[in-house]
Symmetry: C2
Subunit: 171 residues, 2 copies
DNA sequence: TGGAATACGAAAACTGTTTTCATTACCGAA
DNA sequence: TTCGGTAATGAAAACAGTTTTCGTATTCCA
């Protein structure tokens, strides 16, 4: 089991690299570099976790309050098309966006108590899926596996929950 | 690997059983038995596969054209609450409903070419997930695993695709 | 059978997302 | 360096799927 810790500091060099990759994508596509896009992209890459449009917009507005959500949506689509970001949906009816991490593919555990979303990757799990697909004469392009449940560490879980509620109050 | 074939005939006895279970649920909750609910529920249980609200409404209207989608939505929620039906979302932005099959839990393979949704269940897969959760100090309430890809049997797949397109034309 | 509680259907409201449209910004060519 | 065509922006409207509202109709217990 490889567990992925999303709590590490944002790597400034990596962010720069991603920004450059996006700039290149924009150019390759014949699109234009704009202040808004730069703001949104650089804000996005400096956030961590599984970011909703709402969350991103809040941060973006701190840098430039005139940016509206249409532009945020549009830029997120570009990020997805560029391959630098993936869109995910965890069933609460809103899209979340996630910069590609070092580990390309991974699955998710979602705590229904505190909202924590953690990532994991397990090669045996992947292999088993391939085997099952094979047996069904099916070719997998991609898959998604989500485990919904609760943290067993109740203290940490409750702490996260309170933190989250406090944040919701403040917003 | 246990594969689940959704193409079997509708078992009339099983449908009756489910209708009875729903009736009991309605009573237990102090709700009322209505013609509309009966129509919707019995229509639903006679359909197979992963049914969207739209699809169900079309069938329901054949029996009673005056039934609107509000009632269909409401009744589906009741079915879910009763535990007889599960709601699923496969990322195309609309809810699909599925009567509990003989095998309680199962995962899905979704063909992106022909739209086929097939079900499977594998105990090793389940066990492995439990193990991974355990290692992460996490308790699984439920999970979902979806394999997106394509049928390797291209002929069958193309046939299904054409059938689907024909149906879309007719609608 | 009367009447309170519940359900119905149509339409309005809601949520998250996409599109429209008039205006502004970008950027290569002159 | 300005010009001008193209693309991007922001506000608001549109959209799709779903939920809620509200006035009317139905259920079902006393």
């Amino acid at each position: 089991m490889v567990s992925i810790n999303p709590n590490s500091k944002v790597d400034e060099d990596l962010v720069k690299e991603k920004e450059a990759a996006f700039a290149e994508f924009i150019q390759r596509r014949g699109l234009k570099t704009t202040r808004q896009r730069n703001t949104i992209v650089s804000t996005f890459f400096r956030m961590k976790g599984h970011i909703s449009v709402e969350e991103l917009l809040v941060e973006v507005k701190k840098a430039n309050p005139r940016i509206g959500y249409a532009t945020v949506y549009r830029t997120l689509h570009l990020l997805v098309e560029s391959g630098l970001v993936e869109e995910r949906r965890f069933g609460d009816g809103l899209a979340r966006y996630e910069g590609h991490s070092a580990v390309e593919h991974h699955d998710h555990m979602i705590c229904l108590e505190c909202g924590m979303i953690s990532e994991f990757y397990n090669p045996r799990l992947e292999a088993l899926q391939e085997k099952l697909a094979e047996e069904n004469n099916f070719e997998i392009y991609r898959h998604r596996l989500e485990l919904y449940g609760a943290c067993k560490d109740k203290e940490a879980c409750q702490a996260r929950k309170k933190q989250k509620e406090a944040r919701a109050q403040g917003a």
